[in-house]
């Protein structure tokens, strides 16, 4: 089945120790997104890639970076995690927005990040 996969599902890191979360997809979608979701809140968009074009949200801290080496993979790097970065990180994909009339996003299972 076509899907969005995230690894690891649970990540524990220490304050200030860099961490990388990964996302892969077999849907062949052009657009990939990273969201941060804290408890009892809506997902918050951090950035998205439209093909190789990177789109950063204005309020995404510099501590968060992303890489998309190819269509299938996307990485979220947190350079110096703070206690406030503990959250669920969700990867999502959608079809080419130039070809589709709508933007239904398909979410991966998420990575729960704990910062000690």
């Amino acid at each position: 089945d076509a899907m969005v996969i995230q690894n690891p599902r649970y990540q524990v890191t220490q304050f200030g120790k860099p961490v990388t979360l990964s996302c892969s997809q077999t849907l062949n979608h052009n657009v990939m997104y990273w969201y941060q979701q804290k408890s009892s809140q809506a997902p918050k968009l951090l950035f998205h890639y439209y093909d190789k074009d990177f789109n950063n949200e204005a309020d995404t801290p510099d501590n968060f970076q992303s890489r998309r080496p190819n269509t299938s993979f996307c990485f979220l790097d947190i350079r110096s995690p703070g206690l406030g970065d503990a959250a669920m990180y969700l990867c999502a994909t959608s079809r080419d927005l130039r070809l589709s009339s709508y933007n239904e996003q398909f979410f991966g299972p998420g990575t729960r990040l704990t910062v000690l």
């Binding site: 969700l90 999502a92 709508y102 729960r112």
Partner: protein, 112 residues
């Protein structure tokens, strides 16, 4: 700035009862999505509503969209415990920017 507001934010109901969740948004859009999220899990797409008057039904859930009123509803018929989850609506910003604006979420608790 586009705002999306859901009402209520928390809903506790008995099995077998009917109820409606409302999603209001503040600017023009004719594309609205409903997602379900179980505790500790990811978001699952429930409905895609793409035009004024669109109505979609799946099991005990029915979603509708009124673009003139900037309102979508998610109606629950004869609730069962398995429907307990958080439900998010999300609105597509016009112009294919790739960005969805989510409501705050409505946590539904169905009691036996």
């Amino acid at each position: 700035e586009l705002k999306v507001e859901q009402n209520p934010l928390f809903l506790s109901m008995q099995e077998g009862k009917n109820y409606t969740i409302y999603c209001n948004y503040s600017t023009t859009s004719d594309r609205l999505y409903w997602y379900r999220q179980d505790p500790g899990k990811s978001l699952e797409s429930l409905f895609v509503l793409l035009s004024n008057g669109a109505v979609k039904q799946e099991g005990r859930l029915m979603a509708s969209l009124d673009t003139k009123a900037r309102l979508s509803t998610l109606h629950i018929t004869a609730a069962v415990h398995d429907l307990s989850a958080t439900y998010f609506c999300a609105v597509d910003i016009m112009g294919n920017t790739g960005k969805l604006i989510f409501g705050q979420g409505t946590t539904l608790q169905v009691k036996p």
